[in-house]
């Protein structure tokens, strides 16, 4: 068995009658993710294969290695390599007011529902470096609800949470974010919210007054509160079907009756276990209201 496995790694080995996927690569990915889980406790075993394959190979090349098995060996013996891999696997690229029409819909359709609550709890799940969380805080400030809101912004990765809490974003992005903000229906001048510093745009500290940044793992952690809104956009696209269903179940346990679930533009509850528990508040903007 060992000899066969080594043969497959020889350069030039061709899988002529390979079925659809390359079995050796699939096995290497499985073993690497198992190794990461057993050694470090991070569970990426149910991440969507197509994306994680790209991310793993990117790390293979960045470490100047030649194979996924080589990466497995390095990760097992070199903790700093694991830290780099963790960043690769867990950072979701995002921007402030990404998809301005979503934030406009949030303003027009979710905000009126929120006005009926004396105190509002929002869970921004998989907040990454915080761009979406700050966007929500700005929106809620402008509609006069931020003072009675608490946003729980969680991510699996402690390093990105630190960045999120610092609230410094690249100056070069401000132009794009300003356009997004205006397209989303922002009612002030976007530059009111940040100070330009040499190392970036420092966002107003008061925006974080009602944000709790906390580490939470959607793969393994439990529900920790009941929320009126859960915002989880473009996070579950990196999960396979089973893990998506787990997270949908977790969200149902964490969402109040008539609470709102917000997904990314190209996500849907349709293919999940939770399909019949929601009604579309805005099908196009992927705002769903829990009805059961």
């Amino acid at each position: 068995m060992v000899a066969g496995a080594e043969d497959d790694r020889q350069p030039g080995a061709v899988h002529r009658s390979a079925p659809s996927r390359v079995p050796t690569e699939d096995l290497e990915i499985e073993l690497l993710l198992e190794a990461v889980y057993r050694q470090y406790g991070f569970d990426f075993r149910q991440y969507a294969r197509a994306s994680i394959r790209r991310r793993l190979w990117k790390r293979v090349y960045a470490e100047r290695l030649e194979s996924l098995s080589g990466l497995q060996e390095k990760v097992l013996h070199d903790e700093s390599c694991m830290e780099r891999l963790l960043l690769d696997l867990s950072i979701n690229v995002t921007s402030m007011f990404r998809d301005p029409t979503f934030f406009a819909a949030f303003r027009s359709q979710v905000v009126p529902l929120l006005r009926t609550y004396p105190f509002i709890r929002i869970w921004n799940a998989g907040c990454s470096t915080g761009e979406e969380t700050y966007s929500l805080a700005i929106l809620l400030t402008e509609v006069g609800l931020y003072d009675r809101t608490r946003i729980y912004a969680t991510d699996i990765n402690a390093a990105v949470l630190q960045e999120a809490a610092a609230g410094v974003f690249p100056l070069g992005k401000m132009r794009e974010y300003t356009e997004n903000y205006l397209a989303a229906g922002g009612s002030r001048s976007f530059s009111e919210y940040y100070l330009s510093r040499y190392d970036g745009a420092q966002f107003d500290r008061s925006l974080t007054d009602n944000i709790v940044f906390a580490q939470h793992n959607l793969v393994s952690d439990r529900s920790f509160n009941e929320f009126h809104v859960i915002v989880c956009r473009n996070v579950m696209i990196y999960f396979d079907k089973h893990l998506q269903d787990r997270v949908h179940t977790l969200f149902l346990e964490s969402l109040s009756h008539f609470g709102v679930l917000a997904l990314g533009h190209k996500e849907s509850v349709r293919y999940s276990v939770a399909a019949d528990r929601y009604e579309a508040l805005d099908d196009h903007e992927k705002l769903y209201r829990r009805v059961r």
Binding site: R16, A18, R21, A50, N234, I237, Q244, K266
Partner: protein, 204 residues
Amino acid sequence: MTTDLVVIGGSWGGFEAVCHLLGALPGEISAPIVVALHRSPKSSNDALERMIRDCTRLDVVGVEDKRPLHDACIYVAPPDYHLLVEDGSLALSTDDVVQYSRPSIDVLFESAADEYGAGVVGVLLTGANADGASGIRRIKARGGMTMAQDPATAARAEMPRAAVETGMVDFVADLDGLAARLAEIVDPAAPVDARDPAARGVHR
């Protein structure tokens, strides 16, 4: 091995080219078609889908994460996302731009090659950069079939030329030639042998 999936990539001038190509296909074909066209992140997704709908007899189906692929349906990568395939379904990512692009043709082609192996036909059209060339290489390495628009007939020659220069393109033709060849490969009425690109004596 029959064709299980067709992937098409285009950039500069790609919209007209992809419409020409898809418009020339019959309404019944034996594979799904997934298309990645370079476009501005702020461009309207619905508008592009509508325009493609207007030029083809095939169904243009909205892209959603985990949506299962169906034969004779067209799926168009949305702006500002990478579109991939996995387990017979669509998959999306917002990972960094690749070759300055999101959607990236390489990302689509490589995932198609990894998931469908010899069952993939990859078609690269006009464009002004080198996206798609490495995807073409991967499709070929996994036993799939590759086609490119004849650079001399393309609105911009750079992209198909970069693909042809890899030496990994099986079939080069103008849009009508590509459409005719593609129609044979995915013709559900054809005997299975005729749908096999290898069995038809294509130089591989």
